[in-house]
Assembly symmetry: C2
């Protein structure tokens, strides 16, 4: 039996223990964006560090201005020197009452139709995905006594809040992390049967707006009609961002957006993404983006804007006739290649300021601003990963630029000058960032096997 065959067998035999290790990590509520969970983030870092230690990595929990980064180094010999990136932090869990079970008490559930899934916050994003890689390394080590080639692990704790301290960390330690190849497991499958290599990521600009009008809450019976209402101002601003055709109206927003080459456009169309298979599973039918663009373009090659949260005035039970003094919203943009986050931020802020009446004040908080990235579709690592994934899934993987942002990936490419291989096993219905987040047991198991195959393929150089 080849060593790969033995490694895959070991992964199959060890599945229950692998799940136990994942569950232990999922039990730690490492919500990075909420300062109340800072110590739990530190617990998660320590937990990951300790686990990596058990498979021979030399690990340090490295401090940043925020949550720490776990860095582990292992393996030797030939083959590429690889940097694996993932994150141990998770999204907030609210609204908590929509969870069917406590978000940090992972469990296996069976969906109608028989799919078995792991349910917990972070089950997919990114703890489950990170563990597919770690478990593949573990099987290698158990079967062959060592890792297949030199691997540096970088597991950070602020991805869900824009990786704000990781950028400096990577730049400050560029010499250490400038290796041959970056591996990332934080993306999705094309569909439950078809693997995917993600070749591009949209950037993310995340802004918070606060509008203030009167210096106190007012009674709408007395002041209604005469006093500026910050919710009305905010609604005017947010309601003006998109026109009736779904286009974003901020001046200059599309100025640097490249049109797709007709061939690429045709290739995207050929992937067969439809409202039925993409939107229907979440209760929708009609693509909401730019009317003259295909659904796949709307979610992959075109920039977008979403309001992620809004609050102002009385939001409790019943009625209160108040004019609030303040209202706020969180607004994010998915950016495409060549859009400059700083330029878009300036244009957005000017757009907002132009709509705030003289009597009101606006304040901005920036939560993140990272550019989109586009990876070469034919790098040697990608070609090898393509074959390895085809072997595991019995189906050629799709290579496309789809999905969320992984903020640091741009710096791996631009600052460290590395090829980046993004392979992940999330599914569209994983409820990532939502209540009842899940990760298919198949994603976890075959994901681990996929990484074993990719590691074996990369080692043959």
């Amino acid at each position: 039996m080849s060593s790969l065959g033995a490694v895959l067998d070991r992964i199959d035999q060890n599945l229950d223990q692998s799940l136990e290790r994942l569950f232990a990590l999922l039990r730690i509520p490492s919500i990075s964006t909420d300062p109340a969970f800072a110590s739990q983030c530190r617990d998660a870092a320590a937990h990951v560090a300790s686990d990596l230690g058990t498979i021979g990595f030399d690990v340090r929990v490295r401090e940043t201005a925020g949550h720490p980064v776990v860095v582990g180094k292992g393996g030797d010999g030939g083959g590429p020197r690889a940097l694996f990136y993932g994150h141990y932090d998770v999204q907030p869990v609210d609204p908590l009452d929509l969870w069917d079970s406590p978000p940090f008490e992972p469990r296996i559930a069976t969906l109608p139709g028989g799919r078995k899934v792991i349910v917990a916050r972070g089950a997919c994003d990114d703890k489950g995905q990170v563990m597919t890689f770690i478990e593949a390394c573990r099987a290698f080590r158990q079967v062959t006594g060592k890792l297949p080639f030199p691997i540096t692990m970088m597991i950070e704790g602020e991805e869900e809040s824009g990786s704000k301290n990781l950028f400096d960390f990577v730049r400050d330690n560029a010499a250490e992390f400038r290796l041959d190849l970056a591996l990332v497991c934080d993306t999705g499958m094309w569909n439950p049967r078809t693997p995917m290599i993600t070749t591009g990521l949209r950037g993310l600009l995340y802004e918070e707006i606060r509008i203030r009008c009167a210096d106190r809450d007012l009674h709408s019976g007395m002041f209604g009609g005469a006093a500026q209402n910050p919710i009305r101002v905010l609604a005017k601003v947010l309601g003006a961002i998109h026109d009736d055709d779904g286009r974003i109206t901020i001046p200059g927003f599309y100025a640097d957006v490249r049109e797709l080459a007709p061939a690429l456009r045709a290739e995207l169309a050929g992937l067969g993404l439809t409202p039925e298979n993409f939107l229907q599973p979440v209760g929708l039918k009609i693509p909401a983006g730019e009317k003259d663009r295909s659904l796949l373009e709307q979610i992959s090659t075109r920039p977008t804007c979403d309001v992620n949260g809004i609050v102002g005035g009385y939001t409790g039970e019943g009625a209160k006739t108040v004019i609030a003094s303040e209202a706020s919203a969180k607004v994010s943009f998915r950016l495409v290649v060549d859009q400059d986050p700083a330029k878009i931020r300036d244009a957005f802020r000017a757009f907002v300021r132009a709509r705030v009446p003289a009597d009101c004040a606006v304040e901005f908080v920036s939560h993140s601003g990272t550019p989109a990235i586009q990876l070469a579709p034919d790098s040697p690592a990608l070609v090898k990963a393509r074959e390895a994934l085809a072997d595991e899934w019995g189906k050629k993987p799709v290579a496309a630029g789809i999905g969320g942002s992984v903020p640091i990936v741009g710096d791996f490419k631009e600052v460290l000058g590395m090829d980046v291989l993004m392979v992940g096993f999330g599914l569209d219905d994983d409820r990532v960032h939502s209540p009842n987040e899940k990760y298919d047991l198949t994603s976890f198991h075959k994901g681990t096997r996929s990484w074993a195959r990719i590691l074996a393929a990369l080692a043959e150089s």
Copy 2:
């Protein structure tokens, strides 16, 4: 000394005890709109009932489908049979962190400039105002041994949530409450030195909108650009309600609004309400209503719309890249004479539905719908009250239609066929419905004296 003189002296001597009684009522957190405070509302009703009992009223706490109504009957002999209306319930207190002291621990504070004020939720609206009348009755009873004429007290517990059960209560007991005159103390002064008789009240239509899109929260990295966002839909709807000139764009909204006679318009202008004296005290400068209307028209004779609250998506600290499944807003309209709340509600709902995309659902909850009322400016009671107020304040009162809604007043006039006399002592800076609500000690003291004078004047018939 006339009996009025003795009554006024007694009010002056009793001020400290009167305040103690008011404070005892203010300590009860009778927030009617929040079901969590139902038992406290009942406590407040019992407290008022017991207090009225001490001045000779025959009192019953009468059940409704919601919070109970305190009904007390006292007095005999000639003079008009009067119904006094007020409410023991108060507005919610959030945002609690903006209060300088706990909202249900009343205290006397001194403002810069030396004005002494009572600070607490309900200090003005309406516990302080109700107690001016009760304390005037108490002084009459103490000095003369009886009330000046037959008085029925009706102190309800749902005014702040639209008096939704009082309408049936009044209709079901119309024969009992159809008296000669209704007295209401829930309105304001023209300014700190000038009393006011309120001769009209705007109506109130209060609607809640809930927009639902996907059947779960979505990750904006995956679905952004393709999935309808309920906050975006809501912003489009709310942002479209007013045009750039401050006019409401809902079709038919102004159809039944009467234009003011030029003489009345001139009279309003003569009252000298300016942005400096009305808006500046709350940190604003520029009237936000219809551009071609005066400030006084904007707040008194023209209908308005305000968004009183909005919430959707992630509103915690930091950033979350979520597309919410649901967003909601509370929207209220101040209506003027001849606008039919049911008609406006239908027009508003049609306006909203026309802006909700096919993929989304909208749901409405109605919190209230009461028409505006206009009272005769020359009823015998009003003429007497005008003199009584002038005697107390040394200044002729303004008679105008300004301020919030008192939902049941329309029914006193239309259903019971009574004259209604609305006199109150609130001031524009009372922070009614806001943190740090206050009531001037002068309003409380001279308000009590004012009622004593009005009662004496009405008794002379």
